[in-house]
Amino acid sequence: MTWFTVAKKDFRDAVQSRALWALVTVFVLFSVISAYAYVEVPEMFGAPAGATFGGLIFFLVGVTGLFVPLAAIVVCYKSLAGERELGSIKLLLSLPTTRLNVYVGKVVGRAAVLAFGLGVGLSIGLGVGSVLLGAIDVLSMLIFVLVTMAFAAIYAGIMVGLSATTGSTSRATTLALGFFVIFELFWDVVPMGILYVVEGFTLPAELPDWIYLVTQIPPSAAYFSAILALLPDLADAANADPAQAGADVGTSSVAADPFYLSPEVGILILGLWLIIPFAVGYYRFNKSDM
């Protein structure tokens, strides 16, 4: 159970960080302003029929899809690399615990910090939005907030995992930003690049199905699909299209398609993002000299 003690201490330590509170403030402002904007001028945000609560959620998904990766970087990139560079890890590892417990404690602690900040920000944003709209869908809101908190926790795991692979904060920064740039900014290019190579350096007229799966690999794309899968009614109501999350291929005609073309695949991919970075990070962390 020492992981829990480590997580608690880490949470206690991190909630006192000014950077975190600046981040939460920014997110609260961001979600309130975007909720307000969406409700006041829905036409501008692809809802000409008028603002709905479902539309508000899907609008916020786009915002959190960008905010969570950035927040995870700020909260987590130094989590282990920083402790190693400074030497505070020596105080931790002198205690009766194992590296696995320290690592799990870090992931849980940082995930809790991120999920907490996000939970606060989203609840306020959705609260303000529902007051402005005069409508609320408690169940959808709950599912949305929970999935988003899970997404935040998974992102925390990815960033702590990256931080665990190195004892230098500058390298940890490079890894975190590199991850963000590849998976969140430029991923659109990747499926096309793969297709181009696979098809013998030409682009076919019609895109094959598996391209969709490749577009779902980034955590935020998988998160968006997971929301679609869990809130299908709202998705229809809001006319949500995965294109908003960076997926270029339509998915609405899912009925007869294989599983990997349905939005449920997002949940599976999120699961992989939980497991793989954790395993890689632990392997490297356990092997290194502190």
Binding site: T5, D13, E83, G87, L91, P96
Partner: protein, 306 residues
């Protein structure tokens, strides 16, 4: 049973050998000083003992448990003051101790521990604002949590003023009187001399001496050491001086001749050098001390190279 047993320990970092085939045994209940200049391999050895780093070859057994495979069990029974640590800046002194108490699953009053290291008045201040000496005291208090069977202290007097260093020694003695084995490293002989039962001297990753303080004292030249300023210094002069009757060891130290004298009058030796070898400008006499021994053990090779 040995408190610490180090067998054939080697640690290589890329092509640098930090610890080279080290064998060492620390008995239960003793205060053991681990002495060597900076970079000699002291911290590397201690870091392996704590499983911060993994050995290239060899094993370390602590209180009967393998330091690598049973690290958690080992660390449950020891208290550690590591080298080059960093405290959690945003947590208070009290929070640091509460954390350690929880990790060690021990019920103790954190304030009593802080009082023992004399920083109780700063208990609720954030450790980031502590001075170096206060941090050292805080981490010592953390090491004392749960009355460990073995204290491992890496350069414990770092950052402490003379008063603090004395208090540190008092705590070491008190803990030892309670039955705790103490293993601590230092690059300053006089700290080790003041409290240790036995001492190991390590240099360039290799053990150069292990003995009791008295044993070391006896091994030291019983006579005195002359430091002589002469008009000319060369290998030839060193050789000629060493052939004079009653002269023990001759070397060059800080631009002076360092001559040990045993059994004859210092005056006779000085006179012989001045008359037959090289003229003397000035000299000083130093009683042989352990410090002297330490310097000699760990710098001899460089002198030969020079």
């Amino acid at each position: 049973m040995a408190a610490i047993k180090i067998e054939g320990l080697t640690k290589r970092f890329d092509d640098v050998v930090a610890v080279d085939d080290l064998d060492l045994e620390i008995k239960e209940g003793e205060i053991f000083g681990f002495l060597g200049p900076n970079g000699a391999g002291k911290s590397t050895t201690i870091d392996i003992l704590l499983d911060f780093i993994r050995p290239t070859e060899g094993t370390v057994t602590v209180l009967g448990h393998d330091a690598q495979s049973e690290g958690e069990t080992v660390r449950r029974r020891i208290g550690v003051l590591p080298d080059a640590y960093h405290v959690y800046d945003r947590l208070t002194g009290r929070q640091h101790l509460e954390f350690v108490l929880e990790m060690k699953e021990v019920e103790q009053d954190p304030m009593a521990l802080l009082e023992r290291v004399r920083i109780a008045d700063a208990a609720d201040r954030k450790a980031g604002g502590y001075s170096k000496g206060m941090r050292q005291r805080l981490v010592l208090a953390m090491a004392l949590v749960g009355d460990p069977d073995l204290l491992v202290l890496d350069e414990p007097s770092t950052g402490l003023d003379p008063n603090g260093a004395r208090e540190m020694r008092e705590i070491i003695r008190e803990e030892n009187a309670r039955g705790t084995t103490v293993f601590f490293s230092s690059h300053v002989m006089e700290q080790v001399e003041a409290v240790c039962d036995r001492v190991a001297i390590i240099d360039r990753g290799q053990l150069v001496a292990v003995d009791t303080i008295d044993g070391l004292r006896n091994a030291t030249e019983t006579g005195e050491t002359l430091y002589i300023y002469v008009t000319d210094l060369s290998d030839e002069i060193v050789e000629q001086v060493s052939e004079i009757d009653g002269v023990g060891n001759v070397s060059v130290h800080d631009g002076r001749l360092r001559v040990t004298v045993d059994g004859v009058s210092k005056f006779a030796v000085l006179h012989a050098i001045d008359a037959d070898v090289v003229s003397i400008q000035d000299f000083s006499v130093v009683e042989s001390s352990l410090e002297d021994l330490f310097v000699r053990y760990t710098t001899d090779e460089q002198e030969v190279e020079a």
